[in-house]
C-alpha cells in the first residue's frame, strides 16, 4: 500500500467526462471491490454535467478526471495544467458511422452526403484527411451541426453519417438491429490513433501528492484488469453501481470493450510519446492548434505500477 496513514482514508473526487458508461468500468470495479480503500483512498465519483471535467480537475475541485487526448492537447495549449496519467483504451475506437442503407463504405462515399457534427473545426479536418487518401475532398460534404441530438435521431432525418464511439453507440445499434457501416479512424490514419479516453490529474497533484496519484492509478489498473478478465462480472458491477443504466447495453458494450482496454500494449494504461506527438502535429498542421504542444509535459507513465 502506498497509503502513509493507513487508518485515515484520503478523500478524493473523481469527475467523469460524461454519464457513466463502459469506459468507466474499471473505476466502478475499483470502487465496488475496495481497491481504492486498499490504496487508502475514499473516492467520490461525480458526473460533470455542464461543468465539464477538465477545468474542474485543473482547478483542483476534483483531483482526478476522465478526458481525452484531443481535449488535453487543446487544454494544455491554453495553459490549462492537466496531465494525462493513463490511457483507458489503447486505440481509438471512434469512427464515422452510417446506417447501411446510406451506402457509405469508404471515405470517398462521404462526398455528396451530409455529416452531422457539433461544429468543431477538427471534424472537417479529420474528414478531409480521410477523404484525401481517396482523392476526395471535404468540400463535397455538407456539414451540419446537430447539437445535442443523438445519433439515432439525427440519422432519421437530414443526417447521413456521424462520428461515434463504437463501444457504446455502435453496440447500441447492434442491439437495435440497426446495421451500421463503421469507418474507424485508425483504419485510415496512423496519426488519428490517439488515446480516448484518458485519466487526468492536475500538475499540482503530481508535484505535491505523487503518492495519491500512484495510489489512484494502481487501484484503477486493478479495476480495469478485472474488467479485462471478467467482462460479465464487471458489467454487473457497473449496473449495480449505476442502476439507471440499461443492463443489456452495458453487458454488450462490456463484452466488446474488455479486450480493447489493454489490447496490444504491454500494460494497461501505458501511453507513448509517438501517439501524443503525432496527433499534436497533425492538429497543428491543420490549424487546429495555435501553438505547438509540449508533448513531454502532457502525459506521464510514471505512476503506472511497476
Amino acid at each position: 500500500g502506498n497509503s502513509d496513514s493507513a487508518e485515515e482514508l484520503e478523500e478524493v473526487t473523481f469527475v467523469l467526462d460524461w454519464t457513466p458508461n463502459t469506459n468507466h468500468t474499471g473505476l466502478y470495479v475499483a470502487q465496488e471491490k475496495g481497491y481504492f480503500e486498499e490504496q487508502g483512498l475514499d473516492v467520490e465519483i461525480v458526473m460533470p454535467g455542464e461543468a465539464g471535467a477538465d477545468q474542474t480537475v485543473a482547478t483542483g475541485k476534483a483531483q482526478f478526471g476522465i478526458s481525452a487526448q484531443e481535449a488535453v492537447t487543446e487544454a494544455r495549449v491554453q495553459d490549462i495544467p492537466i496531465v494525462s496519467i493513463a490511457a483507458v483504451i489503447q486505440h481509438n475506437t471512434s469512427g464515422f458511422a452510417a446506417p447501411k442503407e446510406k451506402g457509405i463504405t469508404s471515405p470517398a462515399d462521404f462526398a455528396g452526403k451530409t455529416y452531422g457534427g457539433w461544429g468543431a473545426p477538427v471534424e472537417a479536418a479529420v474528414i478531409d484527411s480521410l477523404m484525401k487518401q481517396e482523392d476526395a475532398s471535404v468540400e463535397d460534404v455538407e456539414i451540419i451541426n446537430m447539437g445535442n441530438t443523438d445519433f439515432f435521431t439525427a440519422v432519421e432525418r437530414d443526417v447521413d453519417f456521424a462520428w461515434i464511439y463504437y463501444g457504446w453507440t455502435g453496440v447500441q445499434a447492434e442491439l437495435r438491429d440497426v446495421e451500421l457501416d463503421m469507418l474507424y479512424l485508425t483504419d485510415y490514419s496512423e496519426k488519428l490513433d490517439y488515446y480516448t479516453p484518458v485519466i487526468t490529474t492536475n500538475e499540482t497533484m503530481i508535484e505535491e501528492n505523487p503518492e495519491t496519484v500512484s495510489a489512484m492509478v494502481a487501484a484503477l489498473e486493478k479495476g480495469y484488469q478485472f474488467a479485462i478478465e471478467n467482462p460479465s462480472d464487471a458489467a454487473d458491477i457497473l449496473v449495480v453501481e449505476v442502476p439507471d443504466l440499461d443492463e443489456e447495453l452495458v453487458h454488450a458494450s462490456q463484452e466488446w470493450l474488455s479486450p480493447k482496454y489493454q489490447d496490444d500494449a504491454e500494460q494497461w494504461g501505458i501511453q507513448t510519446e509517438d501517439v501524443w506527438r503525432n496527433y499534436a502535429e497533425w492538429m497543428f498542421e491543420n490549424d487546429l492548434l495555435e501553438s505547438e504542444l509540449d508533448v513531454e509535459a502532457a502525459f506521464t507513465n510514471e505512476f503506472l505500477p511497476e
Binding site: A51, Q55, K61, D150
Partner: protein, 252 residues
C-alpha cells in the same frame, strides 16, 4: 381551476389516448417515442430504482424555490423602497438572467464544489427573477388614491409599504409566483446536470445516454407531476389569500 379540473383531465387523457393510438398504429419504435402505456409500465417496474431520485429533486426544488422566492421578494422590496438602488441594480438583474449555464456551471463548481450550494444558486437564479419583476411592477401600480390617503393620514413609508403597497401587489406577486413555481422544477433538474449523484435530472441524463427513451419519459412524467403540484399549491394559496375579492356575479 383545479377544482373544476375535469375538463383539463379530459384534454390530457385525450392527448394520451391519441398518442397511444398513433404509437401503436405507426409502430413508432420505443426509442423514438414510447407509448404512454410503455412509460407507465416502466414507471411501475423500476419504481424502486428511482424513487430516491424523486425525493432528492423534491427537496432540492422545495428549498431552491423557497430561497428564490425570498430573494425575489427581498430584491423587489429593496428596489421599490430605494429608487437609487433600483436604477443601479435593475440592469444587473436582467443581466443575471443571461449568464449561460455553460459558463456559470464551471465557475460555480470551482467556487462551491459539487455540493448543494451551487445547485440552490441555480434554482434561485431561475426563480427569483419573475417574482422580482412582477412584484416591483405590482408595487409600482398601487392605487394612487389610497396612497394619498395613507400619506395624509401620516403613515410612514414603512406603513405605506406594509399596509398598502404590499397587500396591493399580492395579485401580481402571485403572477410571479406562478411563473417561478413552473420554472422551479425544471431549474432543479438543470441544476442537477451540474454534477449530482441523484435527482430526476441525473436519472434522465443516464437514461438518455443509455438510449432508454422510456425512462426519459418516466422522468418527464414526474417532473410534470411535481410541477403541477407546486403550481396548484400556489393557486390554492392565491385563492385563500385573495378571498376578499368580489365574487363572480356581475363579472364575465
Amino acid at each position: 381551476m383545479f377544482e373544476k379540473s375535469y375538463s383539463a383531465i379530459i384534454v390530457i387523457v385525450s392527448i394520451l389516448t391519441i398518442w397511444e393510438i398513433t404509437s401503436r398504429l405507426l409502430q413508432i419504435p420505443t426509442w423514438i417515442l414510447p407509448a404512454p402505456t410503455t412509460i407507465v409500465q416502466e414507471a411501475f417496474t423500476s419504481w424502486h430504482n428511482y424513487n430516491h431520485h424523486i425525493l432528492s429533486t423534491i427537496t432540492l426544488t422545495g428549498s431552491g424555490f423557497a430561497i428564490g422566492v425570498s430573494v425575489g421578494l427581498l430584491i423587489a422590496i429593496l428596489l421599490h423602497l430605494v429608487p437609487r438602488i433600483r436604477e443601479a441594480l435593475y440592469p444587473l438583474l436582467i443581466l443575471s438572467q443571461n449568464i449561460p449555464i455553460i459558463v456559470l456551471a464551471p465557475l460555480l463548481v470551482i467556487w462551491f464544489g459539487f455540493g448543494i450550494t451551487p445547485k440552490l444558486l441555480i434554482i434561485t437564479l431561475v426563480c427569483f427573477f419573475p417574482i422580482a419583476v412582477a412584484t416591483i411592477d405590482g408595487l409600482k401600480q398601487t392605487n394612487p388614491e389610497l396612497i394619498h390617503y395613507m400619506k395624509m393620514a401620516g403613515a410612514t413609508n414603512r406603513q405605506i409599504f406594509t399596509k398598502l403597497e404590499l397587500p396591493h401587489a399580492i395579485p401580481q406577486l402571485f403572477s410571479g409566483l406562478k411563473i417561478s413555481a413552473t420554472y422551479s422544477v425544471m431549474g432543479a433538474v438543470i441544476s442537477e446536470w451540474l454534477g449530482a449523484n441523484q435527482g430526476i435530472g441525473v436519472y434522465m441524463t443516464l437514461a438518455s445516454s443509455s438510449f432508454r427513451t422510456d425512462r426519459v419519459f418516466v422522468a418527464i412524467f414526474f417532473i410534470m407531476i411535481l410541477c403541477l403540484i407546486f403550481f396548484s399549491l400556489i393557486i390554492t394559496a392565491e385563492r385563500l389569500i385573495l378571498k376578499w375579492r368580489p365574487s363572480e356575479e356581475g363579472k364575465r
